[in-house]
């Protein structure tokens, strides 16, 4: 099956000159991005994310290994008909207006001439920048330029979207808008390859994540698989009687006393049993929360 993106032992080594030697940007990268998913590509600065994206788009050539887009080599220009790309910081000619930028990309993407204007206006509307369609890029803020980038990426109805930091420079409303747009695109059957530092967004939108560290893949799977440890629940209560404490021991819970009350940590399997004991004992529950490692914690553990 031809996956939207597949890499096999992809490696990129930059030659920094005689004195500085070489730097491995990406090493033995094996990832498969299935059709119709939102794939989060994570890693700290300098991890090799942008280099990987550049290899996928044939901006740079791999030193070794292979990357394919829908089964075709990345060097094939015709493959890029299926791709929409948003660069990390989209740069467009400042004298152009958003409608001109998007129309030009629509034309390059092979949109029929009579459809270009209609489609361009539609994607500008979708990216939330239709009211600035005729304002020169030079006069737009960073966030608005980012939205122009999003609009040009989705024009031409590409099957695969490669988005490098799509929410960079966007305000909270813009970020929410971009996130909703990504989920809409997923629902339309598009595959989204998303590189981002905003882990809460990745956690909320991505089906699969890959974490890179110094060019090497250190984690790969669903967000749940990447997070470590078993899920646990913390129950904060006011006071705990001795007999209740004894009963709770059978639920295999850990009990800690703190200034703000008593904290009971329990596994999901024993949660029901523990809650029944607390209820029967008339204990006042202050709050309850899931104690699982967040993606951000997982990222810090894996990539720090």
């Amino acid at each position: 099956m031809n996956h939207p993106i597949q890499t096999e032992n992809l490696r990129k080594v930059y030659n920094l000159g005689r004195r500085k030697g070489t730097r491995i940007a990406v090493d033995a990268l094996n990832i498969t991005v299935p059709d119709g998913v939102v794939f989060g590509f994570l890693g700290p600065n300098g991890a090799g994310k942008t280099t990987t994206i550049k290899m996928l788009l044939d901006f740079v050539r791999p030193t070794a290994g292979l990357a394919t887009i829908f089964g075709s080599p990345t060097t094939s220009a015709s493959t890029r008909k299926l791709i929409g790309y948003l660069p990390e910081q989209p740069y467009f000619h400042k004298f152009l207006r958003p409608i001109e930028v998007v129309s030009m990309h629509a034309s390059l993407a092979g949109v029929p001439r009579q459809e270009i204007k209609k489609q361009s206006l539609a994607v500008l509307e979708r990216a939330g920048i239709a009211e600035y369609a005729d304002t020169p890029i030079a006069k737009l803020s960073k966030g608005l330029t980012q939205r122009v980038g999003l609009a040009q990426a989705i024009v031409g109805d590409p099957r695969l979207l490669i988005l490098d930091e799509p929410t960079s420079g966007l305000d909270p409303i813009g970020r929410r808008h971009a996130r909703d747009l990504i989920l809409q695109l997923k629902n339309e059957g598009k595959t989204v390859f998303l590189s981002s530092h905003l882990l809460s967004e990745v956690e909320n939108t991505c089906d699969t994540v890959a974490v890179l560290k110094r060019g090497e893949l250190v984690a790969y799977g669903t967000p749940d698989e990447v997070r470590a440890g078993d899920k646990q629940f913390s129950i904060w209560i006011d006071k705990l009687k001795i007999e209740t404490r004894e009963l709770l021991r059978f639920a295999n819970v850990s009990i800690e006393e703190a200034n703000s009350g008593t904290r009971i940590t329990v596994s999901p399997e024993m949660l029901y049993y523990a809650m029944r004991i607390l209820d029967k004992s008339g204990v006042k529950i202050l709050r309850m929360q899931s104690e699982r490692e967040s993606l951000e914690e997982a990222f810090l553990r894996l990539a720090a």
């Binding site: 550049k54 788009l57 044939d58 901006f59 740079v60 050539r61 220009a77 015709s78 493959t79 890029r80 008909k81 791709i83 929409g84 790309y85 660069p87 910081q89 989209p90 740069y91 467009f92 000619h93 004298f95 152009l96 030009m104 990309h105 034309s107 390059l108 993407a109 092979g110 980038g149 040009q152 490669i162």
Partner: protein, 255 residues
């Protein structure tokens, strides 16, 4: 072809907004206009000087524009990363490079066209008729300028704008004096490495002097059509060669 024209249009829009384009066009138009102050000469001499001055202006202005615009097009796109969204589209590097060259050439042609119209107007004013060879002389100047633009575009695929400007200018100068100077060196040198080197330089450099029809225009000489055809063919071949060499390198470089 669509991709080439889109890039050419983009390049034209970009170039026509550049200060160097406006300044150079205005400067050359001012020099052409100032040639009306040559009234101290007799009418025949005045027209000859007018033709000489205006054709030199058109060539110099066109060449300067071709170097300035051709040297900056590709490196600026790479440096400012405006090339990335474009190259993420189904566009080959060769199409991109040809588009950039065409954009530069069309921009330069607009400048040369404006100068040629001013020149034709002056000739009409003084001579009350326009020589048939004037159009041909301007056309071949344009072809010479296209070669310079192609060389600048080729060099700009691997060098910075400053280096490209210097190298293209040196090639332009060497191409202008090649027959007289380098041809003389070949004749004087003994057989061996130096002669082979001179021969290599001689054949690699464009022979730009053959595009200069200024003296024929001044002296109202008739140039055989076959010769013009050969020169035009040579010019087109050189442009294709320069762009092919540039594309070969640009296709493999990192952007």
């Amino acid at each position: 072809m669509t991709g080439i024209w889109i890039i050419a249009r983009m390049s034209l829009l970009e170039n026509s907004r550049k200060q160097v384009f406006h300044v150079m066009c205005l400067l050359m138009l001012a020099v052409i206009a100032s040639s009306t102050m040559l009234s101290i000469f007799t009418e025949g001499v005045q027209i000859k000087i007018l033709k000489d001055l205006c054709m030199t202006c058109i060539l110099f202005g066109g060449a300067a524009l071709a170097i300035a615009l051709g040297a900056t097009g590709v490196p600026n796109d790479v440096e400012s990363r405006t090339i990335h969204p474009l190259m993420a589209r189904p566009l080959t590097r060769v199409q991109y490079l040809i588009g950039k060259f065409l954009g530069t050439f069309i921009t330069v042609s607009l400048g040369v066209g404006a100068m040629a119209i001013a020149f034709g107007g002056l000739i009409l004013m003084y001579q009350h008729s326009i020589d048939s060879s004037l159009g041909m002389a301007v056309l071949f100047t344009l072809l010479e300028v296209a070669i310079i633009a192609a060389i600048a575009t080729m060099i700009s695929t691997f060098a910075s704008p400053a280096v490209t400007t210097v190298l293209t200018f040196m090639i332009y100068l060497a191409g202008t004096i090649k027959i007289g100077y380098i041809g003389g060196l070949i004749e004087k040198s003994q057989a061996g490495l130096s002669k082979a080197l001179y021969l290599l330089i001689y054949h690699a450099l464009p022979n730009l002097e053959c595009f200069n029809l200024k003296s024929s225009l001044i002296h109202n000489d008739v140039i055989p059509g076959a010769y013009l055809g050969q020169v035009a063919f040579y010019g087109v071949c050189y442009i294709v060669f320069a762009l092919a060499a540039g594309s070969l390198y640009f296709a493999s470089r990192e952007v």
